[in-house]
Every structure is written in structure tokens, then in C-alpha cells.
Symmetry: C2
Subunit: 410 residues, 2 copies
């Protein structure tokens, strides 16, 4: 099936500069798709540190299990990614396939096997024909270039309607550093984490322990704060690599003030990629930002926001451009977190709709209805019991989602 | 909007016999709908015991809060139910409305206020025009009849496409007793509990404490084991009344063997009503039974089954008649309960699709695809870690659900 580009897509793919210590090649190995690239290999300079967050699914794919082990070494020389087949629920054959792929790429990179990372996305339960990849590794190796980030973003797409990338710069102790990232994902998107793969690299010099802490923290407010359909993939993978080529003083303490700028830039980049994933939500026609305030804790606020963002009734109301705030009340109530029904207030598009547990006096639906006709919908809820807040992003649930998911086996 | 009767509807409404100690009247009070009944009052003989389970929503409606208090008395003389307006998120005005209604019905029944139960279903956040009900109470009172169960089931409908009722008989110590029940609900249906109201009455003589225990227990495997969209209403209410007119020896101990028959009949009736609710799921075209076995505990099994039953990707695959068992694996993985990926087995329509963590050798999709084309879909999963099991019922997610929920404000 051919998918129309999401109406919420960004105008263009950003220009990602080459990053010292990273080379990329892509190829069309025919793992499932025809006439498009489906494999991407990133090669990293010796001394590259690695960090990652992986799906919490208890039926995680073979590549996820491999990455979980490989991350223990904290060092990386390559990541090999394929689209079209997720190598999930493929039993012992899946594990063997990962091991063959890793061995071949480790040979190519002349590195240890636990320095090779693997990610796969696509259909579940079918054996991955890894020989189609490993048999052409020599050919693929000829294509390594430092400026192939856009090609990489395209090669890892499945039901994505556009490639996703972002770049940021920061300074560490006055030394400029760059962060590049790509992502894929459009359905089975839920926190923990999404059918989502994302690969981020920086030339900064940072040890794996610091990278891991920064990634895990920022991930909570970015990739773990988006939802399309509440479904969690068996393959979710976010990997962050640092090549140490920028020449900054290596930071070893997480609370070093020199890290602030990098930390902010990394979170900003992850947020950018996460929002691009939501904007490509299967069948999405509206992008929804949900702010919850007045909660007992940031975790409680996020859980309430996700309860709203995952509610089929809220999402269908958004698709129907119906400012149905009653469904928002319902979703707050089912979140299982403390909320004061009689202090609850709700705004839609910045217009207060309900206050102190009831519709505002003289409520005029007209301006709210106008906001609902737009492409970017803002919902804000104060639950009236504390000071904590959270923001979550989602999309609407309309006929487009059904079209894609009732007919297409991804 | 006019809704087509669900293709999964039962052929006809069952014949519910009069029940000693119960009289019913219905009327059209114009609370929201035109040209249809929207109020139902059941009057119970003195000495009637009451039990109930109510939504766990933290934004529960004013009638739910009232019932929670009234249940403490354990005795009932009347229940008044309206459709069209849920009196939820209506602040102090909502509470006042409940109090006026209760006072008027208590006058009519010459009983204490805490013997009057109230339930409302329909739009959230609009004031309930209770005077339209209370001002015609005298008229309504003229219509009390013992054989108006079908009228009652019709009066409480909202987006329901057919009225829901069931009847069972049992014996307590050789004395025949009858149980009648009605229910409404078709969207915002999730455990804990559903936008669901159900009223059950029996002529058995049973104290409130026994009724409550029986109802709470059976409810777990019936109304709390269904899901349409994972959304939880602010108004869910199941009330059980026992008029003590059958003349059986009163049972005071829950483990009295004389209760067995009644207990089984009650659970059977609740299951019947719960399944009728799912079969009226908004836009449903397929009825799905999900069996999970091999789990660590019945709770774990139910949670895994509900994770499958609530997954938009599983439900859209069912709508698309696609035997996409990869999505079932995904839903097992996200349930957060222990499962052995390498011992997982899945059957669809009784045909084994996956075993020991992988597709069965020589898997032939054709017979499975044929099963998916039917109206009743059976999914069975063994998660390979224990002996516990659970069964859950749901429906598919297709264009019909979007049609109803993107356009209709219920």
C-alpha cells in the first residue's frame, strides 16, 4: 500500500552535518521491500561510547536482547539497522540471525562483537533473511560516507510517511559539539517506548555512564511522553553514540556544570524527533499537545496526560473537531491518579472551558470549536491537588488509522 | 444520529417474568431525547436488600457518589434511572439535583432517602433538568407494573442499538427463586467498569452482606472482563436488589452450600448481560473471545487478556480480518505480566498458529483467515509460566467506531 505523506509532516528534512567519527552506508537488500533501501550501517571511530534505552516489552525482539547485553560494554564501533522485518518472535532462529549479522559486521569493523549494535523493524514472526544483508556487506562497505544521514533516515522507515532527523549544537567548556539524530516510527507508538527506533550520535567526548544517565533522563520527557495508539513495540530502541572527536575535556561527573548546554541540546533534539514521530502517527490529521498541571508528582501528571492522550474517545473527538471536554474529564478519572473533581479546570486552545469542576459560566463554545478545526490542538488540565506538571504529545484517531491498520500487515 | 442495530445483536429481547416485590414504571421526560422514554423507576417491597459495584473513576458522577453512600444502609425501596444526561462533572448543582430527585422519590415511596438509588447516563457536564422528572412523578407513579422489564431496558439506553436483558432461575434449599437483570452500555466500556448501568433484582431472601460479596465476586469475571475501548465511565453502576419474597430460608453465611445454585445463576446472568454489552460495542462487527492460560495468577491472566483486548492494533487487525498474530505477541509483551517468550503459544479459531515462541512449522494461514472472516473470533494464548487462566470479551475496532465517536456527543 502507498501511504500519503502525513498532513502534519515538516516541510523538509533538516540538513544534518557530517559528524567526526561517524560514517554511514545504506543499501537495498530486499529483506521485504522492493525498490527502496532497507539497511543502514553506521560505523564509529575507535573510542566511541554507547548508551541506550530499550523497550520494556516482555516479548522483546532478538535484536533488543542483543543490545541489552552489548550496552554493558559501554563502547560501540557499529550499528546495523534493517527495516521490513523486526526479527521479533522468531525464537532460536532469530537469535542465530542476530549473531551471524553481528559477527559479519564485527569482521568488517575489525572490532569485538559486543561493540556491534543491531536493530530491526517491520513484520513480526517471520525469519529474517540475514544472508541477504551479510552477503553484500563488502558492497555496502564501499558506500561509507560522512554525509549520509538523510539516506539513513530513509532506509529505516516502515509505515513512516517521511524520514525524521534533527541536529543540534552545544558547547562543552567552550568546545563546540554537534548532535545528530534520526528516528522512525508511526504506529505502535506508546511510551516504553513506541515501535520506534532512534539513533543519535555526537562528536562530544563523554563516558558511557554519563551518556546513559543523560539519555535515560531526557527520554522520560521526550520519547516516553508520546503516544499514538497506546501499543508498545517489541523492538523499541534508542541508541546514543559519542565519538569523542570534538576534543572537549571529558566530563565524568553528571553534575558538572559544563554539561548543562549539552544536556539541554540533547533533550531538545530528542523532543524534536519524538514530535516528528507523533506527527507521522498512522492516519493522523491533528497534532495534540496535552499539558497537565496541579498534580501530586511529575509521574502522576504524566500518567494523567497519557490517559487523556491514549483515550480512544478523546482522540476520536479530536478527529471529529468536537470540543468534547466531558471525555477529558472521563480520561482524568480513569488515570488512577489523585485529582480533585471539584477543583478540576480544563482549557482547550488556551480558552478556559471548565473551572472548579464545572463548565465555566456563560461558556461560549464557538471559539473553542474554531480551535478544534485547526491542525494543532492544545489541551490543558489542572487537577487541583499539587504543583507538578507534565506535557505529552499525541495525534487524533480517525478513519486514517483504521484504513492503515485494518488492511496493512506491518 | 440514528444508529443501525448492531450486526452482533441477539435475535430478540428475552421474556423477563414479573418478580414478586418489584414494580416498574417508565416515562418520556424530555431530559435530552425526543419521542422516546428516558426515565425508569423501580419500586421495591419493604425489606429489600441492596448491593452494588460502582466505577472506580476518580471523577465519578454525583449519582455514583450518592449510591456509594446509600449502599451503606444495605436496604432499598427504589431506584430511579435516567438516560440522556449523566449528571457528571456538574459540581454542586449536580449534587443538589440528585438530592431533589431522591427526596421526591422517597416521598413517593414513603421511605428513607438512603433507600433510594439513582443512576444517570448520557452527556457529561450539562446540568440535569431534574424538575422535568420530579414534576411528573405523580403521572409516572400511575404506570407501575410488574411486567415492564423490557420497557425499563429501553428507557435506559443511550448509544445502545438494542435493549439488554436476561433472566435466570435457581433454587435455594429447594425454594425456586428468579433473577432478572437489565443493562445498558456500548461505548466507554472498560473494566472498572464501562459506561454501563445494570440493574438486577431477585425475589430471593438474602442479606445485603451476602449479596454484596456474591456481586463483587461474579462482577470480576463478567462486567469487569469486558472492554470495548478501554475507556472508563464516570457513571458505571451495577445494583442488585433482593426482595425476599420467594420465601427461601435466609442464608447468612457466604459458604452455605445452599447458595451454590443461586451464585452460579447470578454469574451466568451477569455474563449474559456483559456479553450483550460487548455485542453492542460502538461500531462493532466482530465479537472476540480472548482466553489466556499458563499465567502466574488469574489477575495476571486477566491483565494479559485485557492488554490484547484493548490493543488498537489487535482490534483493527480483527476488523480487517487479518490473522496478525504478531500484534497479539506485542500485546502480551506490553501487559507487564510475566510471560515466557520462548514458550508462548497462540491459537486463533482453535488452530495453533504459534508454539514455543515461534510460528508453527508449515503454518497454513488459509483456515485461520477463514475463521477471521466469521463474526465470532476466538483468540487463545498460553504464556507458559503457570496454571492460571482468564477469559475476556471484546469487539473489533473499525470505521464504525470512528463514525460514531468522531461525530456524536454522547
Amino acid at each position: 500500500m502507498t501511504l500519503k505523506i502525513s498532513p502534519l509532516a515538516p516541510k523538509s528534512f533538516p540538513a544534518l552535518p557530517p559528524l567526526a567519527g561517524v560514517e554511514i552506508t545504506t543499501g537495498a537488500c530486499g529483506l521485504r521491500y522492493r525498490d527502496r533501501t532497507d539497511v543502514c550501517i553506521m560505523m564509529f571511530a575507535p573510542g566511541t561510547a554507547a548508551a541506550g534505552v530499550l523497550t520494556r516489552s516482555l516479548t522483546a525482539s532478538a535484536p533488543v536482547l542483543w543490545c541489552r547485553e552489548a550496552l554493558k560494554s559501554g563502547s560501540a564501533r557499529a550499528v546495523v539497522v534493517n527495516s521490513g522485518n523486526s526479527n521479533a518472535f522468531t525464537g532460536a532462529a532469530g537469535t542465530a540471525s542476530v549473531e551471524r549479522t553481528v559477527a559479519a559486521v564485527a569482521d568488517l569493523a575489525a572490532c569485538r562483537k559486543d561493540e556491534v549494535f543491531v536493530a530491526s523493524t517491520g513484520v513480526i514472526g517471520e525469519p529474517l533473511k540475514d544472508e541477504r544483508l551479510t552477503s553484500v556487506l563488502g558492497e555496502l562497505a564501499k558506500g561509507f560516507r560522512p554525509d549520509a544521514w538523510a539516506d539513513a533516515a530513509a532506509a529505516i522507515m516502515t509505515t513512516d510517511t517521511y524520514p525524521k532527523g534533527a541536529t543540534r549544537t552545544a558547547e562543552i567548556d567552550g568546545t563546540p559539539v554537534t548532535i545528530n539524530g534520526i528516528a522512525k516510527g508511526s504506529g505502535m507508538i506508546a511510551p516504553d517506548m513506541a515501535t520506534m527506533l532512534s539513533f543519535i550520535a555526537t562528536d562530544a567526548s563523554l563516558p558511557a555512564s554519563v551518556l546513559q544517565a543523560l539519555l535515560a533522563d531526557a527520554n522520560e520527557r521526550t520519547f516516553n511522553s508520546i503516544t499514538v495508539d497506546g501499543d508498545t513495540s517489541t523492538s523499541d530502541t534508542v541508541l546514543l553514540f559519542a565519538t569523542a572527536k570534538a576534543g572537549n575535556r571529558e566530563i565524568t561527573a553528571l553534575d558538572d556544570p559544563a554539561l548543562k548546554g549539552f544536556q539541554a541540546a540533547l533533550e531538545d533534539l530528542l523532543r524534536d524527533l519524538a514530535i516528528q514521530v507523533v506527527r507521522d502517527g498512522e492516519g493522523a490529521s491533528k497534532f495534540v499537545t496535552i499539558d497537565v498541571s496541579g498534580a501530586e508528582s511529575p509521574q502522576a501528571a504524566r500518567r494523567i496526560a497519557l490517559s487523556i492522550g491514549n483515550s480512544p474517545l478523546v482522540k476520536t473527538a479530536v478527529a471529529g473537531e468536537d470540543p468534547n471536554w466531558g471525555r477529558i474529564v472521563m480520561a482524568v478519572g480513569k488515570a488512577g491518579e489523585r485529582a480533585d473533581r471539584d477543583r478540576l479546570s480544563i482549557s482547550i486552545g488556551g480558552i478556559e472551558v471548565a473551572r472548579d469542576g464545572w463548565v465555566v459560566p456563560g461558556y461560549d463554545e464557538a471559539p473553542v470549536a474554531r480551535h478544534m478545526k485547526g491542525q494543532d490542538i492544545d489541551i490543558a488540565v489542572d487537577v487541583g491537588v499539587g504543583d507538578a506538571s507534565a506535557r505529552v504529545w499525541t495525534c487524533d484517531l480517525g478513519h486514517g488509522y483504521i484504513d492503515i491498520n485494518a488492511d496493512y500487515r506491518s
